[in-house]
Amino acid sequence: MAEMWISMGPQHPMTHGLWTLKVKVDGETVVDTEPDLGYIHRGVEKICEARDFTQITTYCDRLCYASANTWSHAWIYAAEDLLEVEVPERAEYIRMVAVELQRIASHLMWLGAYCPDVGNLTGMVWCLREREMMMDLLQELGGSRMHYNFPRVGGVKRDLPIGFAMRCRAKLKLFLDRIQEYEAILDESTIFLVRTQGVGYAKAEEMINHGVTGPNTRAAGHDYDVRWAHPYSIYDELDWSPAVERPSIKGSDCYDRYRVRVEEMRQSALMVLEGLDKMPGGSETHHESGDPAILGKAPARAAEGKTGFHHFEDSRGESMFYIAGGGEARGKHPYRVSIRSPMFITIPYAAKCMIGYKIADIPAIMGSFDPCIGETDR
């Protein structure tokens, strides 16, 4: 068959979200690919120049909608760097609980979307069933199911509700057994292994040079993690180590990326359980919102010419906010907000990864990089 360009268009079951992957195909083998992004570009950086610091948190929730908390916390850490704000110890622990629960929910959404990519609908419904548990917990913290607007500059909006710790421990223990169910239907299914092993090779050095970070590089055998390399929050007081996978000689394949994320789900669950035990002031006490134990004082205006930036370990890679303060002329609004989306850099690399494989491998490889188009198009 002559080579032909297939446009896997904006509306396509393989694309989790709206983007087009133009694939040049020779028979069944992929010869060349070209991603085309920008279908839900909504100019968040331009809008943020007309909003103050608390209003921008809601926009950052809606950047990557599968992991809203990690993005709003990334923004708040950058804003605290700009406004030179101290955060009380208890607020750091509550933030860690919120971020790690959101990381589990985000990885569950990824596994739920990855199973139909490789052909099995049961995996999706099971993972979404567990994600509902995590969303219930986050709904107690933030108030709504998906976009929580939970962190504030200097702390958190609300303390843990009464009884939250007990419910959280029960659900996480149940979740730790449910992961065995996923591994039963995925790891022990020969067809899943045949579809994902040896597919979508990517070496560590090549990835980091291409700007790909997070679970995708840890799957390639090096335990680089922003949480220990550029330390923030209270990860040093918890007993955890980055989830690393032992790849093959030719680099990490889809199966490694799947293993890394399942391992990270387990670790996040254990971190939340440990965080609840070590919470200063105990996880049963409840402070009123605005109490200095959970919300420090924070100025509303940035000094002239002051800038602030912060790297954050998002569930898909290393996300980052760079803010240029506007001084008196801009009032409460920042002068420029720049958002580093890990997937905006990973998708072109994943598209290059597909060359040489079959058409049926495109969803397997693309899905294993966990694309989230909301943050890509900003």
């Binding site: 331009k46 700009l82 704000v85 101290e86 955060v87 980091i208 335990d223 930036f309 980052m320």
Partner: protein, 220 residues
Amino acid sequence: MAKELSADQIQSAAEALVGSVAEKFTGSATAEVRHHTGGRRKNAYVYIDVEAAAWRDLATWLAKSHKVDHCSMITGIHWPEKADATWQVVAHLMRTGVRNPGVVSGRVHEIKVDIDALVGVDVPLEFEISMTLAETREPSVPSVADIWVGADWNEKETWDLVGIEFEGHVGMRRVLLPHDSPTGYHPLQKQHKLRYHDFNEMYDDAQGFGRKPEDVGRVK
């Protein structure tokens, strides 16, 4: 207690690097060690102010001899009121130290980094490199897409939204805005205002798609 990079490891690595930048790029680049000012830990990072012309060989020097292997983000900012520094490009780089795992007796073993033993060039470090350009119609900065491929799509996005050219960039095209948007239209420049930024033009027909009939003339 999980191990993590201690503050003085980062501090010493940053000072070492700032020292070598000072004696290598005396004229064109000034480097200093700055600290994050928020949160629990005030980690150090390297801030380099470089002229646009010297950006490319600073980048190759950092990549070759200081193992800066990851370009995190390139941002373009438009300061219309500053005549001498109208266009600013801020590049954030990182030294991650990610290496391919070695093969031992036919089996690949992953790398578990011994954090306390990291010293000197192996310590992961953050960089913020800023370049400013005076008032011009076509601001342009040399491209580093061939040194770090990660910078490729960052530069495309920066040109697409802010309008700063990158000489030597292969295949510059619009990635986020519609392909048929007018040439020279870069929305993040300050002369473009948000829609309805002042209240009274709430319902005139800014986007040219025809308003719903019953909304014409209504003041919000």
